[in-house]
């Protein structure tokens, strides 16, 4: 007995270790941000406590506009993504459109936010691709019209781009959750009682599946309210969104603005917390009204119109995403390509030839970093899940804390975490970079792997134990091979998330490490679209390759085992 406990103990430490790796920088980061917000940061001469940073923040002329743009783009994108996801799932279940859309999910999910934003900026701009297609022959525009279709005051273009990126995520989460609530049986029962297909789904499946969708929706809301890289590319400029405003304060040579930035970062946190609370409140109201609607017994129609409408909505959104990527790829090969031409004068590989060497170097850093982070995250998640299964306990509540980095806005704690990194001498090291990425990668890996791992039929494990295998053997020879597909998929998700990180790379990397994402965002502000195209394309390519590997490797390994394919 004693021996067994001892043997199990290293594994037992994994969940604790994982949580510590997470909570330490976030807690330290939050405190390291809150103290300066009240004027306390002795190394910069702040001995506080004082409310002066808050007074300066609230008196800032840019604040009202920044908060408005943040709320419009944050709530707008989340509502749009949520409505499209739920509407499409309800209206288009089992149709051809549904199967096609789900196939398009993975590529869009994999592509970093910045790449999408860069492409959409070119697609929608007044001198962009959409208007070029129709100008001047249809629109009569000899010159690009002076209309803010991107970088608009309220961040509507930003909201649209966020929705392009978030809808695939929510749809994928919904697909995963549907499997756990016996949706076919629910639907069959409701249909037998005479309910139309859409009404049946909304009345019987949605209430059951929503609790599983809640956390992803909150994460999307928190992300949309505090995104920086996409807002730099597509968001309003005068004033920018709150997160960008705070980001600028932290980067100002005037140290006194660090204090204002800290107060702004804390306000950003408040905005997100309030946003989530409002959403929760709306949930309760909708649930109340919905209960009455469900009990009312209206059967609903065949849902033909809804099916067409929601499918069109989803395809427009997915189409925007894919078109923006293809356009950036085209730009990287373009010769002269001026308004109003819809196709470049010539195609050339000159930009690639010039950029290949620097891009390859940056790509290499991105690749190594992504592999290191995804590998580490996978090891920790597997450790946590294995420990959970061996100890026979249901998922511990503490592991919910893993999702904290998805809910707390990055700017709210990265500044404080950077101070911690400088104090410990980790600042600018590869280790700090890996750690900072891990914070955001691990939750997604956990999210992707937890369900398949827990759902594996335990009779396989018992059979293996009966045949004399140790728990370790069971892990390596039964669980991992059987779950190779979800394990690799989770690793690919982790890799893609790492590639997409912008702010953590800047803060922890101390400018020493540039990744395809930091490079693409830096270039997108000004440089020629051809170069931006090269970086955006590579930035999209790496995660796609990872997903291809995640699908291809198990298929090849198990080419002669049909049940495992």
């Amino acid at each position: 007995m004693q021996l067994r406990r001892l043997a199990a103990s290293p594994l037992a430490l994994v969940p604790t270790l994982t949580l510590a790796l997470f909570l330490l920088p976030i807690a330290a980061g939050l405190i390291g941000t809150w103290l300066p917000a009240f004027g306390i940061l002795p190394s910069l001469g702040g001995t506080g406590p004082t409310l002066e940073p808050w007074a300066r923040l609230l008196a800032d002329p840019a604040l009202p506009g920044a908060v408005t743009a943040t709320l419009v783009s944050g709530f707008g994108s989340t509502l749009l993504a949520f409505a499209l996801t739920v509407g499409f799932a309800a209206a288009a279940q089992k149709t051809w459109a549904y199967r096609q859309a789900t196939r398009l999910l993975a590529p869009l999910l994999a592509v970093p936010h910045a790449a999408i934003a860069i492409g959409i900026a070119f697609l929608l701009a007044p001198s962009g691709f959409l208007l070029r297609l129709f100008s001047p022959w249809a629109t009569g525009f000899e010159l690009p019209p002076d209309v803010a279709t991107t970088q608009d005051r309220y961040g509507i273009a930003l909201a649209l781009a966020l929705a392009v990126k978030e809808t695939p995520f929510l749809l994928l989460m919904l697909l995963g959750a549907l499997g756990q609530v016996q949706s076919p049986q629910r639907l069959a029962t409701a249909r037998a009682l005479g309910y139309g297909p859409v009404t049946a789904w909304l009345k019987t499946v949605l209430p059951a599946v929503y609790p599983q969708l809640r956390l992803p929706v909150y994460a999307v809301l928190a992300f949309s309210l505090s995104v920086i890289d996409m807002a730099l590319i597509l968001g309003p400029t005068a004033p920018p969104t709150l997160a960008v405003l705070v980001f600028r304060w932290f980067n100002d040579p005037d140290l006194a603005l660090r204090f204002v930035g800290a107060a702004g970062a804390t306000l950003q946190l408040l905005v997100v917390v309030t946003g989530i609370a409002l959403w929760r409140l709306a949930e309760i109201c909708v649930a109340r009204l919905g209960r009455r609607w469900i009990a009312g017994g209206a059967r609903g129609g065949t849902g033909g119109v809804a099916r067409g409408g929601w499918s069109a909505g989803i395809f427009i959104l997915l189409g925007l995403g894919l078109a923006s990527l293809l356009l950036m790829a085209l730009w990287s090969f373009a010769g002269r390509w001026r308004w109003p031409e819809a196709w470049p004068d010539s195609l050339t590989a000159a930009t690639w030839a010039r950029q290949l060497e620097p891009a390859a170097e940056t790509g290499w850093t991105t690749l190594l970093l992504g592999l290191a982070v995804a590998g580490l995250a996978l090891a920790l998640v597997l450790g946590c899940l294995e420990q959970e299964q061996r100890s026979g306990r249901r998922p511990t509540r503490a592991l919910w804390l893993l999702y904290l980095p998805l809910l707390v806005p990055q700017v709210a704690f990265l500044f404080g975490a950077q101070v911690l990194a400088i104090l410990t001498g980790l600042d600018g090291s590869f280790a700090a970079l890996v750690w900072s990425h891990l914070l955001f990668v691990l939750p997604y890996v956990f999210l992707a792997l937890a369900e398949p791992w827990r759902r594996l039929d335990s009779r396989y494990l018992r059979s293996a134990r009966c045949l004399g295998a140790t728990p370790l053997t069971v892990f390596w020879r039964v669980k991992l091979p059987m779950l190779l597909r979800p394990v690799l998929f989770a690793a690919a998700v982790g890799f893609a998330v790492s590639v997409a990180q912008y702010l953590p790379t800047l803060f922890a990397g101390a400018g020493r490490y540039s990744t395809l994402t930091t490079e693409a965002v830096a270039l997108s502000a000004g440089a020629a679209r051809r170069v931006v195209g090269v970086y955006a394309f590579l930035q999209a390519l790496l995660p796609l390759a990872a997903f291809a590997a995640a699908v291809g490797i198990p298929a090849w390994c198990y080419r002669n085992r049909r049940a495992l394919q």
Binding site: A62, S514, G526
Partner: protein, 405 residues
Amino acid sequence: MFPLRSIALLLGCGLLAASPLAAEPRAVPRFDEAMTAAQGQTVYFNAWGGDERINAYLDWVGAQMDARHGITLVHVKLSDTADAVARVLAERAAGNLEAGSVDLIWINGENFAAMKEADLLFGPFVPELPNFALVDTERKPTTVIDFTVPTDGLEAPWGMAKFNFIYDSDRISATPANAGELADWAASQPGRFTYPAPPDFMGSTFLKQLLIELTEDADLLQRPVESDDLFAQATAPLWSYLDGLHPHLWRSGQAFPTNGPAQRRLLDDGEVDMALSFHPGEASSLIVAGQLPDSARTFVFPEGTIGNTHFVAIPFNARSPEAAMVVTNFLMSPEAQAEKQNPEIWGDDTVLALDRLSDEARALFEAVPRGVATLAPEALGPVLLEPHPTWMTALEDDWRRRYLR
């Protein structure tokens, strides 16, 4: 309101300087000693990375340094020079006095004044560099006085800049000759002009150019801002000018491009008809690169436009100051300067005095093509001096308060 930012900056720096962490200044080696020590060192050159051509030039410099001196040059691409200044400050705050992450920094004006004031610079090292003797400090006084602040050997001149406008000659036949004509033209062509939002240096320079022209007593600008009232009085004509101009701008003045290159892209896309530039050769260079239409040309105001010099400096806590000195010396060499002046490479004017060069070195410059859109030296007009940096910070603050809402 007005000097809050600059005062706070100086105050912040002052507190840092007074803290026990402040170290003894490090000794500057002789250049031959530096050459020996530089072997195998790595120089993290923190320089704005928003222009593909400049990045390519720095890659070339890196290759030269590797081949000649065994120095590894890493271009840390900044989106704003202030990031690197902030980093050095943070390192000092954390007690990192000898192993800083910045070895060399591309800098001028406001950031130099702040770093000099706070003793964040290594040196004076510039007098030790052999190529500094070739710099034209007499006819180009801005090579030793940066925005009215004496460089005191703490930063090395790297290139000359002169404010100019790039325009599309297919769209504009008569170019404006002063601020008033510019506003008239903008009003007649609504939505076809804009400028980068300050504190981007291009946008700030545009404000200073207008201020020098519009204010009553331009000599005042050469001294630090003395009071809020004085600032309000001196800048009142500027604000009323901008209030009148903004409704006619691109996006009705509700949005601004992020920086100079972003505005050039708008020009190339046909969204506006003008862009701002700091390099007389830039338009030619961008036509060659296919980033501006062949019809792009440049003009200046005949009464003069702002000119200045950009520099490189070494932070006080650089890890490899010796190698940074060797790199700096190379940046000032005739070979590197001539390469840089070529519009097909970058198109940035030299800081050197051509009459002090050997025939061989002068031939390098004579071989540099001028480019189709570049004005002849005599057509560039007089150089207006940069105002004291305090004007710039105050202008940026007030601009933000008025128009960023």
